[in-house]
Symmetry: C2
Subunit: 271 residues, 2 copies
Amino acid sequence: MKLLTSRDNPQYRKLRQLASNSAASRKGEYAILDGIHLCQAYLGHVGIPVLCVASQTSQHHPEVSAIVQECKSGGAKCLLLTDSLYRPISQVENGVDIVFVISKPAVQTCPVLRQTAVLLDRIQDPGNLGSILRSAAAAGIARVFCSAGTASAWSPRVLRAGMGAHFLLEIVENVVLEDVMEASEIPVIATTPYTETTIYDCDLRLPVAWLLGHEGKGIRESLLDKASDRVVVPHQGAMESLNVAACAAVCFFEQVRQNRVCSGGNRPLPD
Amino acid sequence: MKLLTSRDNPQYRKLRQLASNSAASRKGEYAILDGIHLCQAYLGHVGIPVLCVASQTSQHHPEVSAIVQECKSGGAKCLLLTDSLYRPISQVENGVDIVFVISKPAVQTCPVLRQTAVLLDRIQDPGNLGSILRSAAAAGIARVFCSAGTASAWSPRVLRAGMGAHFLLEIVENVVLEDVMEASEIPVIATTPYTETTIYDCDLRLPVAWLLGHEGKGIRESLLDKASDRVVVPHQGAMESLNVAACAAVCFFEQVRQNRVCSGGNRPLPD
């Protein structure tokens, strides 16, 4: 495996730029996967990366050497960095040193909504976005649409919080949600604290599109006006609202629950 | 209002240390509340802080001046900082400059569990801990017990993510969870991906204690062994697990749902 030792190596400089999470790197065609778990998930669900990078210390770690071996067999380029060169590449503290460089999936055109999906209006926090993607994948949802102003889905922090959800979902970014909602063939359900209708009053046994909004400001009026229904997770009075990722999880799994009841999957509670 | 202009002022140095989130500040008797929302929540739910601090720029902001006024009327000490002195105090980007210094609630002795509560085993991420506290308060849960090794509940990041939940909950830190579980008069339900029993199979209409564990390692075996039940949020096979804060929200609100059904609060779905 080729060892890089110089900060001035052009390949190293590119790698460092990509890892910096700058606007330039966000718009590029590559993303960086940081840590054993994401790399294993990528190998399992997608395939061989463009580039596999380990540090001199980590190369003998059994899971790292298994990953590197699989990459080599699949024809991926592999690089070794000195520990001091590796450090600025990774944002994971106390992790095992391995990153993949991958091609982001090709930009999708927006399909007409017919299956359960998630519409995100300007979600700011990378941890929240990653958690929402992870919950969506865990609930069996296949597509997530992000408006302009939502955190970049393929940034290192969102990838880390997503824990591999990115490889199970189709994620469409910079979407004009108004257009998607107008063309939708399924109801769009907006979550907002300002309604009396709870998610438990809502029939979720058929596909719906879940619309979730900005952490502080919620969903834009222009989108709320186009939603089929407005629902709330019925929180106690003194707490104003739930975290948006917690709200998303409750909604997605209420739908899972209703569909399990429908298919006889839940044991009925005794009277 | 007194204006501080020197970095060497002893009061300023104390404030800066408190805001630095160091081990020393975590163990102290004071905590710092950063931003308008937390300060308003404190005034609304608890009362007057020890100290109220604004910046020269923010002092004319209408919400800040209302908060300062309320603090002064209540007898709190108020300080004004130059903008450059204020900056290192706050971790909020693009926020409005106001912080409170408050006394942390007195350390509780562990009461015997009789009402629904949350037991946290080594939750690492401040955002996750804050989100769990927020969901617990929103679900009407009154008490949260944190093991040693859980993030510090009164640190600025957890306070921020908690969005005021701290003032609605009784939070007990550095708890020996084994002891609490042994003395518990209600079932302790451990959440883990390694079981077939789903939360929907579980009767949650009476009080339970929810046990949630470390983001990567889950709940310690010594605690799992003492739990009355092990349950899972039934996620799809390809996604290994949910984020712990998402899992917590789904559990807490499944209990809310079952209790609403019980009290006739949910509209039954049509057949």
